[in-house]
């Protein structure tokens, strides 16, 4: 069951839908009938993104397909190497459908800071999935910032070996109109003493819908794991929807795991406070939203990537004005 198989075999019966537990909030069946053809230039093949190496940062630009498109690219960060990576998904025209698989392997002591900026068209269906494996002593810090699509899902599945490896999986979504964004993570602690941190924040305006599914699994033998997961969302309109499911599955001893989830409206009192100081309500609202999402941006520890994230967020905030 996957969008990829459905596209490659042109068989809509293979699409994930509401009945699949893991896709119940991001139904593709209902929205992809009929299934689009693969873009003609690809003829059933998979494509690769454009890769550009800027000073200090590897940039992978993922252009949108014309119709249906499947793309693949693996990244291996070699032993001891330090890499900054930007995965920039660019919006295309109309009702395109993309499926991108971007596996990542970190060798011993390797370090990767990854920023995913996911921009898609309002009528698009976009599924981006990364399987990430870390060797001992590796560091993987990721921030995903998404603005949704008709259906957009960004999934990250991490295998965490413990043993001095460190993982941070942050995310933010800023949604307006009828956009939908799903951020799904699975963090598999397989070895002893692993630490992981996750903070995901989102805002949903108009009739948009934000989905967050965060699963942490601490396997037998992953004793002493320390995993924290927090999701906070703001609903900016009564017609917006947020669905969140943080999950912990623990099969080991002596673990410190915590998860938190809050969904609320903008703080009306703080809003009045700002207005009473002379800031007009629409600006005050944006200021509070920017501060809320700003915490995610500030956690990005590499200045180049932080600046890129900040400007992406600023552009999306403009769409929330009004």
């Amino acid at each position: 069951m996957s969008l990829r198989e459905a596209l490659l075999t042109h068989n809509a019966d293979l699409l994930p839908g509401r009945r699949d537990e893991d896709w119940r909030w991001t139904d593709l069946r209902g929205v992809l009938r009929p299934l689009p053809d693969m873009s003609t230039d690809l003829q059933g093949l998979t494509s690769r993104p454009d890769i550009e190496v800027l000073p200090g940062v590897i940039v992978r630009r993922h252009a949108a397909p014309v119709a249906g498109g499947v793309s693949d690219i693996e990244l291996v960060v070699a032993r001891g190497e330090v890499v900054l990576l930007l995965d920039a998904f660019e919006a295309g025209e109309g009702a395109y459908v993309r499926d991108a698989a971007l596996p990542i392997r970190l060798e011993e002591g390797a370090s990767l800071t990854r920023l995913v900026l996911a921009e898609d068209g309002a009528d698009a269906v976009s599924v981006i999935c990364s399987d990430v494996s870390l060797a001992a002593g590796a560091t993987f810090h990721q921030t995903v910032i998404a603005s949704g699509a008709r259906r957009q899902r960004i999934e990250t599945r991490v295998t965490h070996p413990g043993q001095g490896a460190s993982v941070r999986l942050d995310g933010a979504y800023l949604l307006s109109g009828k956009r939908h964004a799903d951020q799904t993570t699975r963090l598999d602690h397989t070895g002893p003493g692993g630490e992981s941190r996750q903070l995901v924040r989102g805002v949903a305006a108009d009739q948009s819908r934000g989905v967050f599914q965060g699963r942490i699994i601490v396997r037998e033998g992953a004793d002493g794991a320390d995993a924290r997961l927090t999701h906070n969302a703001l609903m900016l309109s009564e017609k917006a929807e947020i669905d969140a499911k943080p999950e912990l599955e623990i099969y080991a001893d002596d673990v410190a795991c915590a998860h938190g989830n809050t969904v609320g409206a903008l703080d009306e009192e703080a809003l009045f406070y700002a207005c009473a100081r002379g800031i007009p309500a629409p600006e005050a609202r944006l200021m509070l939203i920017e501060a809320f999402i700003g915490e995610i941006v500030e956690r990005i520890d590499e200045a180049v990537l932080q600046a890129l994230a900040r400007s992406f967020v600023a552009t999306r905030l403009e769409a929330l004005r009004g």
Partner: protein, 248 residues
């Protein structure tokens, strides 16, 4: 300057202010005292323009202009400043950023140019120094993790920066230690000017020893039930509100 006539305000459909009249001429400081729940904060929120404070009758004007017709930010641009009884925390927005945003928004509303970053900083440093505040505090999220007294001092910092014309202080003295009370009062006194009016809400005579009011009013059950000179505050301190509560 501030002219309130027969004001009536409902909160959640419950009448709280019931025909309140009050005039504060330019250059004067008036104190409002009154028992808990009398409607003092309700009056200040109403003047500041908070949603949910329904004016069902009467008027409030500032220099002849109808305040009640304006939204909260427009009132601030006209010079209304409320120092909150319980200042809010705004995580992620440093105090300096907040004040500069507010100042420039007010200037824009008045058709004035923005203040330059160096000019703003220079002024912020001077005001912070006069209130004995650490500049580092102004770089943290506004009021986040501040003590009650620090929040009150931050209110006065904002007031001094924004240079309003009508200053409403809602229990600015509560939560302040003795030294802070003195510093804050000096900050307020420094803002006394012939073109400014102040409304000082307090429960304690002590604040009025520092900020000498021209007039003292007693607010009980949604009305001004007595007015007098500074000696009225001393009398209240001795006798309490009992006789006004029965009168109202």
């Amino acid at each position: 300057m501030l002219d309130i006539q027969n004001l009536q305000v409902c909160v959640a459909d419950k009448p709280i202010i019931k025909g309140l009249s009050l005039q504060v001429p330019a250059g004067e400081v008036h104190a409002i005292m009154g028992p808990n729940g009398a409607g003092k904060s309700t009056l200040s929120y109403t003047l500041a323009g908070r949603n949910g404070y329904e004016v069902s009758g009467g008027s409030a004007t500032l220099n002849g202009e109808d305040l009640l017709a304006l939204d909260a930010s427009a009132r601030a641009a006209r010079g209304v400043f409320l120092s909150f009884q319980y200042p809010l925390e705004i995580p992620g927005v440093p105090a300096l950023t907040f004040v500069r945003t507010a100042m420039n928004a007010q200037r824009k509303a008045r058709g004035e140019p923005e203040i330059s970053a160096p000019d703003f900083l220079k002024r912020a440093r001077a005001v912070a120094a006069s209130l004995k505040m650490d500049m580092n505090m102004l770089k943290r999220g506004l009021n986040v993790g501040f003590s009650g007294g620090e929040k009150k001092r931050m209110e006065i910092f904002q007031m001094a920066m924004l240079e309003p014309r009508l200053l409403i202080l809602d229990e600015t003295d509560s939560g302040l230690d003795i030294d802070a009370l003195k510093i804050v009062s000096e900050g307020v006194n420094a803002l006394r000017a012939p073109d400014r009016a102040m409304l000082v809400i307090t429960h304690y005579q002590r604040l009025l020893d520092y900020i000498r009011p021209d007039r003292v009013h007693v607010l009980a059950a949604g009305r001004i039930v007595a007015s007098g000179g500074p000696e009225l505050a001393q009398q209240l301190e001795r006798e309490g509100y009992e006789k006004y509560e029965t009168a109202a």
